[in-house]
């Protein structure tokens, strides 16, 4: 079984590198970026199986791009908001509330990945 690829998009370097280390230790392949052009490149080049993105970074992707992305891969959104209703988003596949444990993160990722396949 090939390792599942996750692209992490956030503006906090600490968050991204921590998630990368944790997920890679658990058998995922992870790349991250907070830069718009880089993210677009990675989407095409890295071809992730799942996009893990902070709600506030959604603006990096244009709305139409996001909609087509949703067709291609599951998107898991990280949010610091209390309730999903407060989060300014399109129809989301899933949310994970900050702060989250590794266990919660993996379980949310796996749920989405299994839904896809």
């Amino acid at each position: 079984m090939t390792a599942k690829k996750i692209l992490v998009v956030n503006n906090d370097l600490d968050t991204m590198s921590l998630i990368q280390q944790l997920l890679e230790t658990n058998g995922y392949k992870v790349k991250y970026s907070g830069n718009r052009n880089e993210v677009i490149e990675l989407l095409d080049g890295f071809k992730p199986d799942l996009l893990l993105i902070d709600i506030l970074q959604m603006g990096i992707l244009k709305k139409d791009r996001l909609a087509s992305l949703q067709q291609q891969m599951p998107i898991l959104m990280m949010t610091g908001y209390n309730h999903y209703a407060d989060a300014p988003v399109l129809s989301p596949d899933a949310f994970i509330k900050k702060p989250f444990t590794l266990e919660e993160l993996i379980s949310a990722i796996e749920k989405l990945l299994s839904k896809k396949s």
Partner: protein
């Protein structure tokens, strides 16, 4: 004067009104017992004197006794209100009526009946003072006050109301026409009509009104009122809470922002913690594992505080919308038990009974109430490992009860446990900031439900919620 002696009975027996008998010159022929008890003079004191002795010197100067006498002789009757000088010099306000009486033989006498109206006068005075006071209060207060009759005409309105509607309409103006511009959807009008028709008052309802200066939020109360015997009216009081509301919303926005921002570093701390836990996994370092678990518990605690603070701000700002769905309550309770149980594996949560019905409500919020009750039961368990949750239903509602055998709540603190920021003395050293139960109450209020608790100090507590079946 034989026939005039008939008046003896009147003079002797009248109790309420003083009676004087005068001759046509105004000289005193007799005084009644009541006159003596009211004004102090006995017949001996005034025998043969002119009745002008009862007048104040001022009235005497105005020649009032003479004028009165002339009038009664001319017209046969005379009445007026005057001061009378009491025997002890005190002055009393009285109402008097003089009647000229003639016998068959042409003998004439005057009967003067005097009523002490001091109390009435005092009453009138205090009434007018109260009226002045009411007028000045109404004129001064910032709340708009309006009295409306059945036709929705303004019977009375204060300056604040006219300031609000920028209108100088006279009394009995059409309230509906005035308010129409500010109450576009007619919400207020409908509510007032309901009070008119049913007599059911409402109080402190928040209503948005578009005043000429922009959108305003009011807390409106409306009560039926009997203005006089013929007309039914309603009293409407509108209290401007726009500034308060705005401040609340601003505070909520700030809290939302702060909560959001605080969670970013908190997320990193938790992930770092996870990283360290993982790195330590294969090494025998039990002390570190304990320390990391402690630090993790505190992250959870901090996050819970952030959530509570943010939620309570939201509730207070009135931006607390329910996401109503129909769901099976037993399943929701089971999920709440499982979630809480997973967080506290050392404890035993026992679920009893089943409602066996679907209910309508915000499942997420209701589960929040139940998990709050459950984790409170555990938090304040004082070493007892068992918490019981039971559900029952009656005709109108589903009742959930969470019972613990822990610390309990003393009787003097029990009434306040659902208040904001309240923390029972003995729980001060435990986690939480006193918002959990407050939120539970607000959530149940929003569902037209109820929360309450029973407890005995040291013997545990029972927390209840009831949710109406709709």
């Amino acid at each position: 004067m034989a026939e005039l002696e008939y008046f003896e009975g009147l003079l002797k027996n009248s109790r309420v009104n003083g009676v004087l008998q005068l001759d046509t010159e105004g000289n005193i022929l007799a005084v009644s017992a009541a006159f003596t008890s009211l004004f102090g003079y006995t017949y001996k004191d005034v025998d043969g004197q002119n009745f002008s002795i009862f007048f104040t010197s001022e009235d005497k100067l105005k020649n009032k006794p003479q004028i009165e006498l002339e009038k009664v002789l001319k017209d046969g009757q005379c009445d007026d209100k005057n001061y009378i000088v009491h025997k002890n010099g005190q002055i009393t306000w009285v109402s008097g009526e003089s009647i000229l009486i003639s016998s068959a033989k042409g003998e004439k006498t005057i009967l003067k009946i005097i009523q002490d109206i001091r109390q009435q006068k005092e009453f009138e005075f205090s009434l007018s003072r109260a009226n002045d006071l009411r007028q000045s209060i109404l004129a001064t207060i910032a709340d708009a006050v309006v009295v409306l009759n059945k036709q929705m005409h303004i019977v009375m309105a204060n300056a604040a109301f006219y300031r609000l509607v920028k209108n100088e309409h006279p009394s009995f103006a059409d309230f509906a026409a005035i308010i129409n511009a500010f109450d576009a959807n007619g919400i207020l009008l409908e509510k007032i009509k309901h009070v008119m028709n049913t007599g059911e008052a409402f109080s402190r309802q928040q209503i948005e009104i578009f005043s000429p200066k922009g959108e305003k939020m009011f807390e409106v109360s409306c009560h039926p009122m009997l203005a006089n015997e013929i007309e039914e009216t309603v009293l409407l009081v509108a209290h401007d809470i726009t500034a308060q509301k705005r401040a609340q919303i601003e505070r909520e926005d700030i809290m939302g922002f702060v909560a959001h921002e605080l969670r970013n570093p908190l997320a990193n701390i938790l992930l770092t913690n996870e990283m360290m836990t993982m790195l330590l996994q294969n090494q025998s370092a039990p002390e570190f594992a304990t320390l990391l678990q402690k630090s993790k518990n505190n992250i959870t605690r901090l996050n819970k505080m952030i959530t509570e603070l943010y939620d309570s701000e939201k509730v207070n700002a009135g931006r607390f919308e329910l996401d109503i769905t129909t769901f099976n309550i037993d399943e929701m309770l089971k999920e709440a038990v499982e979630t809480t149980q997973a967080l506290h594996p050392m404890y035993n949560i026992i679920q009893k009974g089943a409602a066996g019905i679907a209910v309508k409500g915000d499942r997420y919020r209701l589960m929040q109430v139940v998990t709050n009750y459950l984790s409170n039961g555990i938090k304040y368990s004082n070493g007892e490992k068992e918490v019981t949750i039971s559900v029952s239903k009656n005709n109108n509602s589903v009742i959930v009860c969470v019972e613990d055998k822990g610390l309990g709540i003393s009787a003097d603190q029990l009434p306040y446990i659902f208040d904001r920021f309240f923390r029972a003395e003995k729980t001060r050293n435990l986690e939480g900031i006193g918002l959990g139960l407050y939120l539970c109450r607000r959530i149940m209020d929003a569902h037209n439900g109820r929360v309450w608790a029973e407890s005995e100090d040291g013997k545990g507590s029972r927390f209840y919620l009831s949710l109406p079946i709709v």
